[in-house]
Amino acid sequence: MSIGLEHYLILSAILFSIGLYGALAKRSAIVILMSIEIMLVAVSIAMVAFSRYIVPLLLTGQVFVIFIMVVAAAEAAVGLAIIIAIYRGRETIDATKIDLMKW
C-alpha cells in the first residue's frame, strides 16, 4: 500500500496527541511551551498534506503553514520572555506553583 493522505493525517494526529499530553501533564513551563510547538508542527503537517493531495494547484495550505510559522515564532519569543520574567521574580517556573491569579 503506497503512502496516501491518511498516512500523513494519522502521523499529524499522533504528534498532536503527544503534544497535548505534554502540555497537560508537565510541570515545567518550558516543556509545556515545547509541547505546544509540537502541536503547531503537527497541524502544519496536516495542512501541507491536504494542500498536496486535495488541491495540488492552489497551494493554500502551504500559505497557511507560513502564517502558522510566523505565529509560532512570535509565540515562542513572547512565551519565553514571560517565563524568564517569572523566573526573575519567583525563582521557579513550575506551572503548578505559579498560581497568583488562581481563584
Binding site: I3, I10, V31, I66, A74, A85, A95
Partner: protein, 162 residues
Amino acid sequence: MGLDIAFWVLAVVGIAAALAVVLLRNIFRAALCLVLCFLTVAGIYITLSADFLAAVQVLIYVGAISVLIILAIMLTREVQRGSPSSKLRIPAFVVAILFLGVMGFAMLNTQWLVSDIPPVEPTTAALAIKLFGEGGFILAVEIAAVLLLAAILGAIVLVREK
C-alpha cells in the same frame, strides 16, 4: 517506493523524538530531541513536495526557535530540576488517547476527494505569486509583519532589567 521508505523512517523517528520530548527527565536532552523532531518534519515536507516550506522549517524552527528554547533553559537553571509530571498525568494521558482515537476514526472513515494532478514543483515562485500577487494574501502578510514587530517589542520590554 523510495518515498514510502522515506516516509516510514521519518514518521517513526519523528514520533520517537516527540515522545522523548515529553518523557525524558533531563530537560536539555528533551530540547535536543525537539530539534530532531523539527528536522524530521522538514523531511516530511520534502516527501510532500513542499520544498520551500522544508527550507523555512529548518531555518525558523531548527535555527531560531530551538536556540531560543535552549537559551531559556540555560537562563532558568531548569536542567537541575528535571521535568517532572504533575498529578494530572493520568487524566492527561486519557484525554490524549481519546483525542487520538476520535481523530483517527474520523480521518479513516471520511471519503477524501484525492486529486490525481501532480503537485506544483518547485513551489517558491508559486507561493510568492500566491502571497503577493493579485487577489492573494497581501493584507495577511502586512498583519503578520505588524504581529512580529509587536511580539519582538513585547519580548524586549518583558526581559529588560528594571
